[in-house]
């Protein structure tokens, strides 16, 4: 088992299993009697929106640790970091006293326009060189440990010279940040690009994994789309166990953002993840 050096270095211990505070849960989640260990928020939904979102956030923050997981940091993009956004994010991280925060290794903004998507970067040294100082800037400004997530991608971007795993490794090692390992993304990418998911996991700097995402996806004839619109499939559960056997217990999130049947169903998935975490710890 790999020592979780990044987490240890930053005094972070595994938090158990969380779910996302999505709009449809604003009234229900803070009142739930179900077991829940922590809550993830998309900071973009709380930085500039008042009213119900703030009330829900405050109520959740009273009960659970809250981890901000952004979609708009644009860590890989060509534009300068959005001052307003980073300032607001830093304030939000402090307000909920988050032990760490995260975003995706991607770009999401071009020419000052938000694309509201997580767009893949070419796997090149030039990108590594571009991203690393930006990560360091964000960490310096926010002042908490930061994780980058491996995004799903449907096409290799032009000019790539590194493998995906080396690309991820080079960024997180050179920037000295943590890795948010989205196990569903590994599965979806492996299927879409025809590689072996377990070999990919083995090639990652697992000692930097501080959080895991589990989610469902949607299978089309020629592509699998990372929709977060379904239950976690059996293959992803077994890949999750494969990862846990190598990392030890890791804070885990059930991501369910589309076609959510009910909050209870999401909490049921969280219970399954908690059982897998416990089972992993008992080995």
């Amino acid at each position: 088992m790999v020592a979780m050096t990044y987490a240890r270095r930053h005094g972070l211990s595994p938090l158990g299993v969380g779910i996302g505070l999505r709009r449809s849960f604003y009234e229900e989640l803070p009142r739930t009697h179900r077991t829940l260990d922590w809550v993830e928020i998309i900071p973009e939904n709380f930085l500039s929106l008042g009213g119900r979102s703030q009330r829900a956030l405050d109520a959740c923050a009273e009960r659970w640790p809250v981890l901000p997981h952004g979609v708009g940091l644009d860590i890989g993009g060509p534009d300068a970091l959005d001052e307003d956004y980073v300032t607001g994010l830093a304030a939000l991280v402090k307000r909920v006293d988050a032990p760490f925060f995260s975003d995706h290794l991607c770009y999401s903004r071009l020419g000052g326009v938000y694309l509201h998507d997580l767009l893949p970067l070419p796997f090149t040294e030039a990108v590594v060189e571009h991203v690393v100082p930006r990560v360091r800037e964000v960490v310096a400004r926010v002042g908490r440990p930061f994780l980058l997530e491996n995004p799903s991608y449907y096409a290799n971007m032009p000019g790539g010279t590194l493998s995906e795993a080396d690309f991820l490794r080079n960024v997180v090692e050179e920037a000295d940040c943590g890795l948010l390992l989205d196990v569903n993304n590994v599965y979806v990418n492996a299927r879409n690009h025809g590689y072996d998911a377990r070999a990919f996991v083995d090639a990652l700097p697992l000692e930097r994994v501080v959080q895991i995402h589990l989610a469902g996806h949607t299978t089309y004839p020629d592509v699998i789309i990372d929709t977060h619109g379904d239950r976690v499939c059996d293959d992803v559960w077994s890949l999750y166990r494969y990862v846990l056997a190598r990392t030890g217990p890791v804070s885990t999130l059930i991501e369910w953002d589309q076609d959510i049947p009910s909050m209870e169903a999401v909490l049921d998935e969280a219970d399954l993840a908690r059982a897998a975490l416990r089972e992993g710890a008992g080995r």
Binding site: L49, G72, L110, V113, L115, D117, P122, Y154, A155
Partner: protein, 243 residues
Amino acid sequence: MKPSLKHFFDSMGSYLARPGDESLQRLYSAHPEWRAPSTRVSIYGDFVRGHIRTAVEKLFPLLRGAVGAETWNALVEDYTLTRPARHHEVNRVGEGFPAFIADAVSSRGLPPYAPALARFEWSDFAVFASQAAAPEPVERLTPNPTLVVLEQPFRICAWVRARGQGVTREPEAGDELALLWRHPELLVTYYQEATPPALLVLKMAVEGLSAPEVAAATGMPEADILDAVARLSRDGLVLAPPA
């Protein structure tokens, strides 16, 4: 940033600004060695366009219903080309939509009430998500800090209310002062036409007038004034100090 990386972003930028067959071909010619299947690359063009559409459709459901599917599709397409997503919060793409609709009324033969309806729907959301927080508790009668007042040449409030009851004729022409605010406990948007009692109670809140003062100045029975204050405090248009 290395020139090769800048070239990548520039080429993606022109594709994503106007996703389509032609721009996709241009993207590939910018990267002659690139072998990724175009059906996979175009997923991103569809996504990026789709996010704007989804947000605008969620924000303006009444306008969408009023103009019909074909006109609506053309409007959203053209609005997307104005690249309205300048803010990280996705709903903010709707902020410029009422002005876009106002400009499009005559050129596209939109119903004359379309701009007022678009402004009303945007205000409905803006009030719902307003960052103005109600002080708790207030020390004296206070206007709801989320209040938005719209002056419009159509009776939009009555029309929206009637739609809720299944009536679907068009909004009537006629000056309307619409009040929209977020209920301080329920945190949902309330709206109503500015009736004389609503304006009176707002005036009392803004100017710090008491019911006896207003009764003396207007000759209205004090009980009626107190009634209006109580009713509009319950609705949250004004915030009253604890009794």
